[in-house]
């Protein structure tokens, strides 16, 4: 089998996988005007084109150190893998959430979360993801992923989450 044939087969496999995706089309529930809530079916995590696959296998979150927007080596690896996946699945739109730990004032933390989200946005654009697909939002310290008054939680909460939706 030639290289070309292999590539063709792989492409077909990806297309088939996409077709067998049990997302079943657009599934955006309306929770009422102004709820700010959209729902997206996550699909089968074994389907490499599913949102569940992105969230679980690739990883949707990168972490930051105190008051920093620097991306760690590990964070950059995750974002590069994300970019490859996002470029391969252009049907999805992307919201980047920036978060801060609780050890700061409320408004500064909103600005800090915005800075982190923008850092991730710039990185993904640098990896070829179309800027028009990307939006950013900051939650500051309002939405910790874990709540405890310890370093362990603060480390987890200083994060950016790439949220993929239809």
């Amino acid at each position: 089998m030639s290289f070309l044939n292999k590539a063709t087969l792989l492409a077909v496999a990806i297309v088939l996988a996409a077709c067998s995706n049990p997302r079943g089309g657009a599934d955006d529930y309306d929770y009422g005007q102004g709820s700010g809530i959209n729902s997206t079916a996550l699909g089968d995590p074994s389907d490499p084109a599913s949102i569940a696959y992105f969230n679980q296998t690739i990883g949707d979150t990168v972490h930051f150190t105190l008051n920093s927007t620097d991306l760690s080596e590990q964070g950059q690896v995750i974002l590069r893998t994300q970019a490859v996946w996002l470029n391969r699945n252009p049907q999805y739109s992307i919201l980047i959430e920036g978060h801060a730990d609780e050890r700061g004032t409320r408004e500064y933390n909103v600005a800090l979360g915005a800075r982190r989200a923008a850092r991730v946005e710039q990185f993904l654009i640098g990896q070829g993801v179309a800027a028009s697909r990307l939006r950013t939002v900051s939650y500051g310290k309002e939405r910790p992923v874990e709540a405890c008054a310890q370093q362990r939680c603060w480390d987890l909460n200083r994060r950016a989450v790439v949220v993929v939706s239809n």
Binding site: N38, A111, A117, A118, E121, V137, E142, A149
Partner: protein, 441 residues
């Protein structure tokens, strides 16, 4: 808004002139000098108000209690409980037997009367210096609807405070804040409003979207707050009475937050984040015109106006960590004012204009502090795991803020600008982000 009318009470008691002044002629009139820092609170008595008709008796004790709680809450005064009283006030206009009040060591005495007809309540009060036997100021009568009875107690408290200290009070005022509920990882945060003493809480938003940091207008009839109603932080302007609200300063792709009114109530200063940079903007509420105040790659946020409306103080991390800066609203250079160690946030200009209150992070602790507007005379008033977001009482004597102990729920606290009299403000549940109104009209 409930209307309360007031007028002096005429016809002062004749026996008053006969009060035995001689023995106390060497005494100076009662005056509490706040600036000297009161260590020993001045004892006072507020006997139950005289019910001048049957319907009035329902309010006679409650009025006295609210007044006593307000005055004791200042830390400047201390109530002598009614159970210790020897004297009885049975008629508002009869001469006061000062010896009864001297015996229990009261220095000040508040007497009052209440009458209720249908939905109308009439409250009268007088304030006496027990030692000299002198009345302090005129008697005063307040008329209004019965549902405003607590406000009348607050008005009386403000009068007593003013007559004793020479400074205006802060009791007839309200606080907007965030009422919190639910798990910390998915917190429900509603904009709420209450009296300054924690009574009469009402919810201004329903909690379906995250909201934070409400701010009163200079006249107390409107508020600004930030809400995630659209999924993104946006600034809302709400009329408190009608609860009608609208988005302001909104442009697609932007996040706006940290709004505050200018002293004239006509414009708003706020933060706008786009592309990771957070700058200060001004918005004219009438014309809709907006313009940019700062333009840096840094975080410029938490702006607050000087009382003259000409300058804004804000926090910026342009130097590498958060510090406080002042700049002219007309534009121009920002001048750094905070000079100490640590990180400074959430500066708020005092109503008098001479001080700035702020949040400071130092060595892993959070403090509420005050400094002069040139950065000098910095004093830290509090310390805890997380203290943040000071707001001034209408007279600039007290600061309310959010406190969170490690792992605990946030509560509202007050502290005197001397650093004394730290108190918790009662709220129905976890609460944060207080903003104190001016004295109500």
């Amino acid at each position: 808004m409930t209307q309360i009318s007031r007028r002096p009470v005429l016809g002062l008691l004749a026996g008053f002139a006969l009060a035995p002044k001689l023995a106390f002629a060497q005494q100076t009139p009662l005056r509490i000098e706040i600036n000297e820092g009161v260590i020993e609170p001045v004892p006072f008595a507020v006997p139950a108000f005289v019910a001048e008709n049957g319907a009035g008796s329902e309010y006679a004790t409650s009025l006295a209690q609210v007044i006593a709680d307000n005055l004791t809450g200042t830390g400047l005064l201390r109530e002598i409980p009614q159970s210790s009283h020897i004297g009885r006030i049975t008629s508002f206009d009869s001469p006061v037997q000062f010896s009864d009040w001297r015996t229990i060591n009261a220095r000040a005495l508040v007497t009052g009367a209440v009458r209720v007809n249908a939905q109308q309540i009439t409250v009268k009060f007088r304030l006496f210096d027990v030692v000299t036997g002198q009345q302090l100021g005129d008697g005063l009568q307040l008329d209004g609807r019965t549902d405003a009875w607590r406000r009348m107690a607050h008005r009386v408290s403000d009068q007593v405070y003013q007559r004793l200290t020479g400074e205006s009070g802060y009791f007839d005022s309200r606080v907007v804040f965030i009422a919190e509920s639910g798990p910390r990882t998915n917190r429900r945060k509603q904009v709420a409003i209450m009296d300054q003493d924690g009574a009469n809480t009402q919810y201004l938003t329903d909690g379906t979207s995250l909201a934070f940091a409400p701010r009163f207008s200079p006249t107390g009839d409107r508020i600004l707050f930030t809400s995630y109603e659209t999924g993104f932080p946006r600034i809302y302007l709400m009329d408190v009475a009608s609860r009608r609200r609208q988005v302001i300063g909104d442009q697609p792709g932007e996040m706006t937050f940290a709004p505050r009114f200018a002293p004239d109530g006509q414009s708003v200063v706020y933060s706008l984040s786009v592309g990771g940079s957070t700058d200060l903007y001004m918005l004219n509420l009438t014309s809709g015109q907006r313009w940019q105040l700062t333009q840096t790659q840094a975080i410029d946020t938490a702006p607050s106006f000087a009382p003259d409306g000409q300058r804004v103080i804000f926090e910026s991390d342009r130097s590498g960590n958060s510090q406080l800066y002042i700049m002219p609203v007309a534009g121009g250079a920002a001048e750094r004012v905070s000079q100490g160690q640590g990180r400074y946030s959430t500066p708020v200009w005092s109503p008098r204009g001479d001080l700035v209150a702020f949040t400071k992070q130092l060595n892993g602790r959070f403090h509420i502090g005050v400094m002069r507007t040139d950065g000098s005379n910095e004093r830290l008033l509090t310390a805890s795991f997380l203290d943040e977001g000071p707001t001034w009482s209408p007279n600039g004597r007290v600061i309310m803020f959010t406190r969170e102990e490690a792992g605990g729920d946030p509560v509202l606290m007050t502290v005197d600008i001397t650093g004394r009299n730290l108190r918790r403000v009662p709220t129905p549940g976890p609460a944060s982000d207080p903003s104190w109104s001016p004295l109500l009209p």
